[in-house]
Symmetry: C2
Subunit: 134 residues, 2 copies
C-alpha cells in the first residue's frame, strides 16, 4: 500500500490535545470488540504501512506494535474514521485469538450484573453467538 | 434493577482526570460498532437506572440521554468493563436503527482506501455481513 507521510488523511483525524485518538479494535469475522487503545499520527501511519495494529502506549509513552512480545499481532483488514473524525475503528484478524494481556480473547470480560462486575467465561468467538451477549 | 448510588462498581471504573471514560456502543444482534462516546459517574448510573444509554456530552458539558431529540434511544442489554477498568462496552438495541447524527446506522462510515477516507454505503446491519467489512 502506498503511503504519503504528509497525507491529508492524517490531518482529517481530530487528534486530541495530546495528539491522540481512541481506537476500537474489532474482530472482523465475528464482530467481537477486542479492545480499546490509542494512536498518534505515527502509530496510524505505521499501522497503514505494516498492515498490523500499532498503537501509542500512554503508560510507556512509546509506539506499541501490538504482538511484539506476545506474538498476538492484529492483521488490519479495514480502518474507519467516525463522523466527528475523533475515533478510529480497526477491523482486524486477531492472531492467536487473544487480544487481552490477561490471555482472554478480548478485554471486555467483566459484565455488569446485580451491582457488580462479574468475570464472564468466553468461548471461542463465533458469528452465531457474540460471546459478550451471553 | 436495584441501584446503589455509592456502589463499589462505580469506584472500580478508572475515571480519567476529567472524570470520564470512553464508551463503545455495539448493536447486540449484529456486532455492528455504532459509536464511541463518554460517560461520567452520573451518566453510568443513569444508564443503569434507565436501561438506556446516557452519555456525557463533552461539547455541551451536560448529560446526554441519547435519543432525547431524535427518538433513537439505545436500549442497553449488557454493560462490560475492560481489563484495565478504563473503557466500557455497551451492547444495545438501537431504536430506529440509526445511531449517528448524520442519519446513518453507525458513525464509522468513512473507510480508509488509497490514502483517503471514503464514505461507504451501509445497508441494514445483519449478522451475515458486518456492513463495515465490505
Amino acid at each position: 500500500m502506498s503511503v504519503n507521510v504528509d497525507a491529508d488523511y492524517l490531518d482529517q483525524v481530530q487528534w486530541d490535545a495530546r495528539g491522540l485518538v481512541p481506537v476500537i479494535a474489532q474482530e472482523i469475522d465475528t464482530g467481537l470488540v477486542l479492545m480499546m487503545a490509542w494512536m498518534n499520527r505515527e502509530a496510524l501511519l505505521q499501522t497503514i504501512v505494516k498492515g498490523q495494529a500499532v498503537y501509542w502506549s500512554r503508560s510507556r509513552q512509546q509506539l506499541w506494535h501490538k504482538g511484539e512480545t506476545s506474538g498476538h499481532w492484529q492483521q488490519v483488514e479495514a480502518i474507519f474514521l467516525d463522523c466527528d473524525g475523533d475515533t478510529l475503528l480497526l477491523q482486524v484478524r486477531q492472531i492467536g485469538g487473544i487480544a487481552c494481556h490477561t490471555g482472554r480473547p478480548a478485554c471486555f470480560f467483566r459484565k455488569f450484573k446485580e451491582d457488580r462486575w462479574l468475570d464472564i467465561v468466553t468461548g471461542s468467538p463465533n458469528i452465531a453467538s457474540l460471546p459478550f451477549s451471553k
